[in-house]
Symmetry: C2
Subunit: 676 residues, 2 copies
């Protein structure tokens, strides 16, 4: 089977680290201080991604592709920081991001018992969901009021446990340094998820408090020598989602329906944005970040689907489930767990039956543009905010208010032409998916073609004006209604069905969570309580070794070098996306070409880990995760270190580039010294 | 409504030209000789496309993108004629195409009565289809034996008429001249279907007979001055398919199911081939022609879907059908025609229900690679050839034998890596569409992942060896079985269901044809017999005027110039696909930049018309059709000259480029003189 007995598998909770395994396998015994420092130096990008503090003056490092969203929002046609890079020599030159929120985990509290106690035993799924939502909102609000910290109750083990995570929030975050995107993402989509690789995928931000660089106690010492072949390394970051504990019924749904459908949506968008980008440089600039996201997801999902279509992986899943069930059969104490498999299959079937309409309406695929998202948030804020905290849709809870408002009132640029393109395409997709005879389609299109209707809505709405949004948000439902904004009225048109679909989906999720909780209990009883829950964008600790692998009978060494970077560009005739930035062509002679550039390790990661620090036993920063290879894409379902690898940029290359390519001496010095 | 009363609409049959219209509207009365010359100078590319003779020595002109398939097959990594262009100064340098077949229409005979008489009145659809297939094969064979000419019975008016078309075949066709693809297809996919436009989309071939340049009596005189603003022009070519006479039920099926589904397939392929092409120059070369085809279809289908989603177009269709039905109601002689609408709806429903499996199996989308196509042809040839001519699958009829063998024994290059890529993707699609639990999917995958199974089949099959194909084709079914070739055995595995699906589809098509024939008779009785049948890749005559249009309130002039070509490249910073070939950069100063380059006209065309000559009243060649604008894409369903335009390259630009950019004096001289 794929998972060898000895693989360094796992995305471990910081409050349940794999001490025994580390001790026996790697003779390493992390102290509480070691763990706490790593935890508190780890930063979550709320926009999706990870990072870490690397100086006591709030300097933090992440991937360029994690920061790209923020950099894109700071860029214009004239000042294209995404393309040309950015470099602040002094704090006063640092650029404040428009709506970036960073979270740093301060504490974890197990609230499973309190959450479950509030859910009546015999309640149906919908009532159980409502009760659970209520108690979670209550716990979060209580914690926020008491500590002032962002407080999220997170679901672990698919519903087996509920933990309260408290975060320090930073919302004044400033851009310090970014290389050109062409250096950060050299090789573009063709080289994405491949190895050997040559990407300077990092950028630097600084967290501010009260208008001053934040003073942080816990940060990582930056290692100028960086990762070594064969050494044990750790990754602390925020893996977004894995599906390793799903039942076979859930995996089959993903394999046969959900993934193929989502891939169709992604490929449609990829063609749309690609064609539009090709028509002008400015189009390309405007769509770049979104197009990257689409291509990245497409490649990841293609890889995940290939994983599920691999009979080796899938038959192991079938066997594991059958074996485990066999151990439960005939034991009354496990009857509930056994029955849980059928409940999960049933709930999956109900969700599958409405999946297309759900994706189109509640998922917003029928209206894929920023204006619609803003319009719906305004509409729902008007309806939700007067309700008691525990009865609102989750995103409108008191605990989430600050984050919601940060996004809603962001001054980020929204491009009318891209909005038009996206909405016309989305409405076409909507009509094609449900058929023009569908009543809701007819109401939405209002007798017009998708293109004409999109133009009418995008030109007619005022939601792209922040002052308008503030006015409606503060004025509540009556102000929203009085505005008679066409986009908001479209959001209203679909809201009843959209909410109904969401309610069914949430009820079935609740049913699944209860079933998974039963399975989880049985697993603990039969197999013991060791292990780690599936990833849920919560902080995790993973570990492994720096190590190459074999492919098509040939060894793939663990490191690339700055020298092989130049070779790769030459081999591809510098044809985009294998064209080097001018800075690298000009200053080649300054570089030590033997400097390690990118490297692979057996650390268990997944999307969301991007930007995670790679640290050695001494807790030093030796590299930064930015990708996995193609063979790692099936890690969503099962880990294997046979060929799957995590890909990082090496700390030595980061220093070399800052010093010799970019002349960013101040930043380099701060990294090495850990202070300004 | 879209179609103004005065639009020059129509793709007219050469045996039913719109004489009256031309006389009254344009004061033009084409003589029989004028028509016959144009007909016999018109050339059909069997690979899909049109062209025309332009010299008595067999020189013929078509689009570069029509010839690209043949040019691609002549190209290698070292001699990339598609990219670099080609130029033979003497006949002995001309390159023989590997499997190109040209057809020149010699005569048309109405065989409707004979075909219908052979179909028993009360037969069910399946028997009626078999009877019709039998009589058609008989007529074709008889004609072939008697005249030696390729003889095709073509279906017109959706089944309202059957005509016997006799063609002279040319299979020794040699490449004379091709510009660089970057000149022919400047602006690539982004500018495709757009106007203003700057494409030198032509190439020259020569037809040979008995090893010598063919002597042709009917060819077009090439006009050095070319098309003029406002003049009446004619287009003689082979529009592939229009759907203007479909019923509302058929159009709704296209709009809500068929087109969205096919677009999904195309976008999937576009991403696959695009990503693969980006990984190396040689990949890009190998996939180029196929990628162009996919992108071209995608853009066309996106446009057609937009047309059907335009309420103006669709409500006109609804109204026209309702109005016509109203005229039939209550009249016993039209009862059959009225009932025909329901029969068509019913047949469409049956076809729709099996459309996905049909496309995957009989359409081959589950195995999208050359090797599978060859394997299936070998398998079926073994089974079909021993049967009586009239009972075979149509492509194995005696009349089609020569064309079938030309393709089957072609020495064209087939690239293993591209085959692997395509088949692995297709098998993934197959599994995702039907689900892994599907019995046929399981049999085809044989317990392997799509990628592993694709590798096994592509590496295991011998069908890419022409000698092997010849041996199996000649050896028949027993030789095919004895070969035990893995790809042929996969074709056998799916053949039973595939044939069953085809049988249903063909029976339902027969049912539709009979129904359409009834509607056609009623239409003739009620509205008169004027008009033209939907396009079916048969030779048609269309006409219109050279004329600009208005877009977003601004006039779009009818001509671009060589000067505006340079401006466009500059405006796009010469970024691919807006990079000019070196030849054009170097020799700019030689050119008369005021020379007309591309132009638009109101001529009614569609895909398949590519390469059609544009001729003036004098019957002179004044340009070559290569595209339509975005607004013309809905012409599949309804013609409108409000904004829709056909796009051509101007004859003056062709001469200017041959003389001054390419130094191809011999070719230019032959064009002007009409002889070598």
């Amino acid at each position: 089977m794929l998972v060898t007995a000895r693989a360094d598998e796992g995305m471990w909770l910081f409050n349940q680290p794999p001490r025994e395994w580390l001790r026996t396998r790697h003779q390493f015994d992390p102290t509480d201080a070691w763990l706490e420092r790593l935890q508190k130096a780890s930063v979550r990008f709320n926009s999706g991604g990870s990072g870490s503090f690397v100086s006591e003056d709030g300097l933090l490092i992440s991937n360029h592709h994690v920061g790209a969203d923020a950099i894109q929002k700071l860029s214009t046609k004239e000042k294209n920081y995404l393309q040309d890079g950015f470099h602040a020599r002094k704090p006063e030159q640092e650029l404040k991001c428009l709506d970036l929120e960073l979270n740093v985990l301060q504490s974890i509290e197990d609230v499973t018992a309190r959450v479950n106690a509030a859910v009546p035993k015999e309640a149906d799924a919908a009532s159980a969901f409502a009760a659970r939502r209520k108690i979670i909102a209550e716990i979060e609000k209580e914690s926020l009021d008491r500590t002032g910290l962002r407080s999220d109750v997170v679901t672990l083990w698919q519903g087996g446990a509920y933990h309260l995570y408290r975060f320090k929030r930073y919302t004044d975050v400033r851009l310090v340094f970014a290389p050109e995107q062409q250096a950060a993402f050299f090789g573009g989509d063709p080289d994405n998820f491949e190895f050997p690789r040559h990407c300077l995928d990092f950028c630097l931000f600084r967290a501010y408090e009260n208008g001053q660089p934040a003073k942080v106690k816990d940060y990582l010492r930056f290692s100028p020598t960086g990762a070594q072949d064969g050494e044990l390394v750790f990754v602390s970051g925020h893996p977004g989602r894995t599906s390793r504990l799903l039942t076979v019924a859930e995996l089959e749904y993903l394999r046969d329906q959900a993934l193929p459908y989502r891939l169709g949506v992604l490929k449609r968008l990829e063609v749309l944005l690609g064609v539009w980008s090709a028509r002008s440089e400015e189009n390309a600039r405007r769509a770049k970040d979104e197009l990257f996201g689409v291509q990245n997801s497409r490649k990841a999902l293609d890889g995940r689907l290939a994983g599920l279509l691999d009979p080796e992986l899938f038959s192991a899943k079938l066997k594991a489930e059958a074996d485990f069930k066999a151990r439960l059969v005939g034991k009354p104490e496990f009857a509930e767990a056994l029955a849980a498999y059928d409940k999960i299959a049933e709930a999956t079937k109900i969700q599958a039956a409405q999946a297309v309409r759900s994706l189109l309406l509640e998922g917003g695929a029928a209206f894929n543009c920023e204006s619609f998202g803003l319009a719906r948030t305004l509409l729902r804020a008007g309806d939700e905010r007067p309700r008691p905290n525990g009865e609102r849709l989750r995103e409108f809870s008191d605990a989430g208010k600050a984050s919601l408002e940060l996004g809603l009132f962001s001054e980020k640029p929204i491009y009318t032409d891209l909005e038009l393109l996206s909405l016309a395409d989305a409405l076409t997709f909507f009509a094609a998916q449900l058929g023009v005879r569908d009543e809701l389609v007819q109401k939405v299109l209002a007798g017009k073609s998708p293109r004409d209707r999109a133009a009418e809505l995008i030109h007619g709405t005022k939601v792209r004006d922040v002052a308008f949004r503030k006015r409606l948000y503060e004025g509540g439902a009556s102000a929203v209604a009085a505005a008679n904004d066409p986009m908001i009225e479209v959001a209203r048109l679909v809201d009843e069905e959209s909410r109904a679909l969401r309610k069914v989906a949430e009820s079935q999720s609740e049913a699944k969570q209860q079933a998974h909780a039963a399975i989880s209990r049985a697993r603990n009883a039969v197999l013991g309580t060791t292990g780690y829950p599936d990833a849920t964008f919560t902080l995790r600790l993973a570990f492994g070794t720096v190590k190459g692998y074999e492919e098509d009978g040939k060894p793939v060494p663990p490191f690339t070098t700055l020298g092989s970077f130049y070779e790769r560009a030459k081999e591809m005739n510098h044809r985009p996306p294998f064209d080097m930035p001018g800075s690298w062509e000009k200053r080649r002679s300054r570089l030590d070409l033997k400097t390690r550039y990118n490297f692979v390790s057996t650390v268990d990661i997944i999307g969301g880990n991007s930007g995670s620090p790679v640290v050695n036993r001494a807790g030093e920063f030796v590299g930064i995760i930015f990708d996995g290879n193609l063979q790692s894409l099936s890690w969503d379902y099962a880990f294997s270190d046979r060929q799957g690898r995590a890909t990082s940029a090496h700390s030595a290359a980061i220093l070399e580039a800052l010093n010799k390519i970019y002349g960013a001496k101040e930043a380099a010095r701060e990294l090495v010294n850990g202070r300004r």
